[in-house]
């Protein structure tokens, strides 16, 4: 019975994992890049100046611009450049709704904090687009994408749990990796990658599901608030209720000094600890200003100081969290996003994400490695299904990184004035990825179908694509040097770590792919030497038999 249970868990792990593996690989890789979303944003918009005005001037500049853009608004939001996530001053506004019950027009801008004018940069999806793809995918209706991502994440959670069940020697083999042993090595590697970062894998998958809990389980809200949009709205209004917020008075009133409120906030929390200003009903008698603090721990909620926007009086000093369930949710979401992480912890997050990505990749490869001896023995060559999985594996494991590199290339090479520039950056990513998936299928379609050529072709496709990825990544610093002046020769001496870090990282990734290509080439050479030797000895044996 016990063996039967393990076997059925193994079945679920294998086939469930295979079914959604490619989507999960995409989610893990783009999500991992999300830990450096802002840094990628900055690399992709090299024109953006580095902000260095004082906080008071910054807030004044923001207010000045908001007065111009949206004097009669429902809400203003100011993000001064006080943390990694906000490298430039950003303002957001929402106008009054045109009709009762509707939603007002929204707008946002990145400002120069000295001139209070919007800064212009090339149109680019930046790191945000890459990051958003990991939960919203692309080209798909948003709700469909959320559900697809949810189903895949659920499969991931199932794969993790079944994986723990079927890994019999999880403690005994904790330190075991046996290289150069074919399938054994792949399994060892898959186990090692899964086990050493198991807490991360569980946390990231589970908290990922929590993000969309209200989408995936609407009936729980509906049971108390009623079905439909009205119930949903009532629930969210209550959940995100702000105690001190009032309805609009519709009596114009001048705002109290924001800089004075900022001063009080900095006195309360310390310098640089202010994350945002959220102003409701600006220039109205019922104006309220909420100032939020930085996120310094996994709890993804800011402490808040609430001011009367007209008198400037401090009304409340709110703790980041008010209820335990809410704190649990905020902590899970905070752990997932890692906004609180400083440079070292951020790299560890990034690295853990890569481990998850590699765990999925090794699992997918293991599926083919396990089946290839039997598949290659077949007279007509491997089944279509097997070849499809092999192609999708290569096309995704090496192909998606190629696509991402091409996305960065497009950012530098597409004409700055191009109308649909940002959209085309993303199109190039998916076109390159598609090409990388079709390439191995084409290669095996064009050429012979026997088993041994099949293996060789598969290796050839891996080698070609690895070289392509190596070139695509390693040349990015060169492209950057040809198109901007923030290249390594400038960024390193200037200590411009966002640019230097990006260039050095892609260079390292390029070298890794080149190493992979060289390794694979060496292996093919060894194999063909062995095959030749085997060939010769069979021929030799055959002649011997004929001899009397």
């Amino acid at each position: 019975m016990k063996a039967g249970f393990r076997q059925s868990m193994a079945w679920v792990h294998t086939w469930g994992g295979l079914l959604v593996g490619w989507v999960l690989f995409f989610m893990f890789l783009t999500g991992t890049l999300g830990y450096f979303d802002t840094e990628i944003d900055r690399w992709m918009k090299p024109e953006l100046p580095v902000a260095h005005a004082s906080l008071a001037d910054t807030v004044l500049a923001a207010q000045q611009r908001l007065e111009q853009q949206a004097p009669v608004a429902e809400r203003w939001f100011i993000s001064p450049p006080t943390n990694r996530d906000a490298p430039n001053l950003r303002i957001f506004w929402q106008m009054l709704p045109a009709e009762e019950g509707g939603r007002g027009k929204r707008g946002n801008e990145i400002l120069d904090s000295q001139t209070a004018l919007p800064v212009t940069a090339r149109a680019s999806g930046g790191g945000q687009t890459l990051y958003q793809m990991h939960y919203a995918l692309h080209y798909l209706p948003i709700n469909f994408a959320y559900w697809l991502v949810g189903i895949c994440s659920m499969f991931m959670l199932v794969a993790i749990i079944t994986g723990i069940i079927i890994h019999k020697k999880i403690f005994k083999d904790f330190f075991t990796f046996r290289p150069r042993k074919g399938q054994r090595s792949w399994l060892d590697m898959h186990n090692v990658l899964s086990v050493v970062a198991l807490p991360f894998h569980i946390m990231i998958t589970y908290s990922g599901l929590i993000f969309f809990a209200f989408t995936y389980m609407p009936l729980i809200v509906a049971s108390s608030y009623g079905l439909g949009e009205d119930g949903e709205r009532a629930f969210f209004d209550e959940l995100f209720a702000e105690e001190h917020k009032l309805d609009r008075a519709n009596i114009p009133a001048p705002m109290a000094s924001l800089t004075e409120m900022v001063r009080i906030a900095e006195k309360t929390w310390g310098e640089g600890q202010l994350r945002y200003l959220d102003i409701s009903h600006p220039n109205d008698a019922h104006a309220r200003v909420a100032i939020g603090s930085q996120l310094n721990s996994p709890l993804r909620a800011s402490g808040k100081l609430v001011f009367d926007g007209v008198s400037g009086k401090l009304l409340a000093n709110q703790a980041p969290t008010t209820s335990v369930p809410r704190a649990v949710r905020d902590t899970l979401l905070g752990l997932h996003e890692g906004l609180f992480a400083g440079p070292i912890l951020r790299w560890l997050y990034f690295f853990s994400g890569l481990l998850g990505t590699a765990m999925i990749a090794t699992g997918m490869i293991l599926w083919t490695v396990k089946r290839s001896p039997q598949q290659l023995k077949q007279a007509n060559g491997p089944d279509f299904g097997f070849r499809l999985v092999e192609s999708l594996n290569l096309g995704t494991i090496v192909g998606l990184p190629i696509g991402i590199a091409v996305y960065f290339w497009a950012n530098r090479l597409l004409p700055i004035t191009m109308e649909t520039r940002a959209a085309w950056e993303v199109h190039t990513l998916f076109l390159a990825w598609l090409a990388a998936m079709l390439y191995p299928l084409m290669l095996s379609k064009v050429r012979a179908k026997t088993a041994s050529t099949q293996t060789r072709l598969n290796f050839t496709a891996w080698i070609h694509e690895s070289w392509a990825a190596a070139a695509a990544f390693a040349l990015l610093p060169v492209i950057n040097a040809l198109t901007t002046d923030r290249h390594l020769l400038n960024s390193l001496p200037a200590g411009d770590w966002v640019f230097a870090g990006f260039d050095l990282t892609v260079l390292a990734v390029g070298l890794l792919f080149a190493y992979l290509a060289l390794k694979l080439q060496a292996r093919v050479q060894k194999h063909s030497r062995l095959a030749e030797f085997a060939n010769r000895s069979t021929r030799f044996a055959a002649t011997e038999e004929v001899m009397p």
């Binding site: 330190f175 310094n296 721990s297 992480a341 912890l345 560890l348």
Partner: protein, 111 residues
Amino acid sequence: MMLLAFAFLYSGFTSICLAKSRHWQQVFPAQTLMVAAPIRKALQITGWLQLLLGAACCVQAQGFATGSVLLWGLVSTAALLLIMLLPYAPRFAAGFAVAAPPLSALVNVAL
């Protein structure tokens, strides 16, 4: 402090690892015998103590909330480094475990 945490974690994993005969032989191939029981016990205890020290350093460096997240990140990195070194450079893997904590303590004092 984080460097020291990493050193303790790496060293702790190595001790626990060496308490297993398979890995003991990897590092000391000349001694074909199993690792002796008292040594094994000592290695296990030292290992777990070092892991605890590593955890303490993380909390010391970043507080409990952020420190515990940091701890898991360093645990993954330290364990993976050891596992990848073992088959290719077993002696170095073990030597590094001995040298890492005092070296990083020195760095910690120097900085």
